[in-house]
């Protein structure tokens, strides 16, 4: 762009006290109706979770992590527990493995249900904002039945899980999942089947797979480009049950622009993710064996950890979520904990995706990337 175009530019702050920018701010430079520069700003939610983790012992740390992103609380807390288990060399009973996996997929479905509503709300349809959230209520009821809390489940603990499945929980989960499955055609009609939605989402916020890899995007945002990059398949955690069953990584292959994805593809990808998660839960439930849910020695082992480094990774609802832990000899608390949130990369990539888009497309772009401020501010 030539400098004289920028002379007529207008700077607009998108946030932090904005209706749909909840806790973040992007500085947009507009020329006419087009955005020429986007400067995302972070730090409005910064509570220094990494420093906080240095003062919590290994059973308390996951409470901090699940509060970073309430929508995928269990997926967020799990990498910390995986890292602790790796350092302490803990074995998890088979039953607990499958229960963890079921809970993770359930949490993932809940996260996408929330996201559908959020995205539709950002595109201006308030009916679709609340319809998926009604289904989400059933998922939350099931979480509450199992763990006692609706969002911050704090379900896993080093060496197993905290609460056993009860028949009441299983029936509530069945209600929630069947309702989710039954309402998928309706959401398909209201989102992907809506001509106005197609007008708003198609061709908006395109990027290629190569660019996405360079920016560090992961999860549905890169699977929509056709790359089946999924840690559940590629690098399954030994204490999860993903390798016990057969399942396929869902990807999108768009004929019009192979190797690229736009907002519509990312929505479609999340539809497929929900179907995969339902499928995984359906296949795992019959495999649930009888037995203990927690290794009885784990509590003592997790009190003091040997020196070591552990890297817990999990495929979250928004992408690769990892916690890197370093412990010193006989440590009660971690020496250093690094949280890698998936949205750190997707929020950063706004800087590259947004320029060239129309101002009205900005909500569609950031909505389709599914950013959650907790993940980059921590």
């Amino acid at each position: 762009m030539s400098p004289d175009i920028l002379d007529e530019s207008c700077v607009i702050w998108f946030g932090p006290q904005h209706v749909s920018a909840h806790g973040w701010a992007a500085k947009l430079t507009l020329v006419g109706d087009y955005i020429v520069e986007c400067d995302p700003n972070a730090g409005y939610f910064h509570r220094s979770a990494e420093k906080c983790l240095e003062f919590r012992n290994f059973r308390q740390g996951s409470m901090i992590l699940e509060r970073i992103c309430m929508m995928e609380a269990f997926l967020g807390e799990y990498p910390y527990i995986a890292a602790v288990e790796k350092i302490a060399d803990l074995e998890v009973p088979e039953r607990a493995k499958i229960m963890r996996t079921i809970m993770m997929e359930f949490n993932r479905i809940h996260s996408y249900q929330f996201w559908f509503g959020q995205f539709a709300g950002e595109l201006g349809l308030f009916a679709m904002l609340l319809w998926p959230w009604v289904d989400r209520e059933y998922s939350l009821d099931a979480f509450e039945q199992l763990t006692g809390s609706r969002h911050t489940v704090s379900y896993a603990t080093p060496g197993g899980v905290k609460y056993d499945f009860t028949p009441k929980f299983l029936s509530k989960m069945d209600i929630a999942l069947s309702r989710c499955r039954n309402r998928m055609p309706l959401f398909d009609d209201m989102l992907a089947g809506s001509p106005t939605f197609r007008l708003r989402a198609e061709g908006v916020g395109q990027y290629t797979a190569k660019q996405a890899l360079k920016w560090g995007l992961s999860g549905p945002n890169i699977k929509a480009c056709g790359i089946p990059m999924d840690l559940r398949k590629d690098d399954p955690d030994p204490n999860l049950a993903y390798d016990m069953i057969d399942w396929e990584v869902p990807t999108i292959h768009n004929e019009d622009h192979p190797g690229e994805c736009d907002a519509f593809d990312r929505l479609h990808q999340r539809f497929k993710e929900i179907e995969t998660s339902l499928d995984i839960i359906e296949k795992l439930l019959p495999l649930l064996p009888e037995g203990p849910i927690i290794d009885p020695k784990a509590r003592g082992k997790a009190n003091r950890l040997p020196e070591g480094e552990g890297y817990g990774r999990v495929e979250g609802a928004r992408g690769i979520t990892t916690v890197w832990l370093k412990t010193m000899e006989k440590a009660q608390t971690p020496w250093r904990a690094k949280i890698r949130g998936p949205c750190f990369a997707s929020y950063y990539s706004l800087k590259h995706i947004v320029p060239g888009a129309r101002f009205a497309d900005f909500p569609a772009i950031f909505g389709s990337l599914d950013p959650y401020p907790g993940w980059w501010d921590r």
Partner: protein
């Protein structure tokens, strides 16, 4: 898709929305009607001093230092007084899990908002009593 296909989509969406108008709303009449809370709900705590041994495991388990223990204040043989600071409590349930003497429970009372900040700090008297239904919890009667 074409023009006719789009028209079909539009009418299908209108049909969905039109049906929704005549459905029963999902939300509750909150102050008069509340959702049922399961027994596992992690609401405010109840402290049973009869069985408490003052081992302070709940205090050590708390990730936010919301529990204050006073070992001098004894009502029974070896119990202690607990003060819960609900301005800090995050209802993670670790104190209840760490209690091996069945002396600390969650109750399904979750609407504990108060007009004054100080009222949210539940002293030893307040944490051992319940002021509304259910007044009975896991076999113990509180009043």
């Amino acid at each position: 898709m074409g023009f006719v296909g789009n028209l079909g989509d539009i009418f299908r969406i209108l049909k969905h929305v039109f049906r929704q108008v005549f459905r029963r709303p999902f939300t509750y009449f909150y102050p008069w009607e509340d959702r049922p809370y399961p027994e596992t709900t992690r609401g405010r705590h109840i402290h049973v001093r009869e069985t408490c041994t003052g081992c302070a495991q709940c205090v050590r388990a708390c990730p936010v230092a919301a529990i204050h223990i006073d070992k001098e204040d004894k009502k029974f043989e070896k119990d202690c007084a607990l003060t819960f600071d609900y301005t800090r409590c995050i209802f993670c349930g670790d104190c209840v899990r760490s209690c091996r003497f069945e002396a600390l429970f969650h109750t399904p009372i979750v609407d504990i908002s108060e007009g004054d900040r100080e009222d949210l700090i539940y002293g030893p008297d307040k944490i051992t009593t319940l002021d509304r239904d259910p007044l009975e919890w896991r076999g113990w009667r509180f009043r």
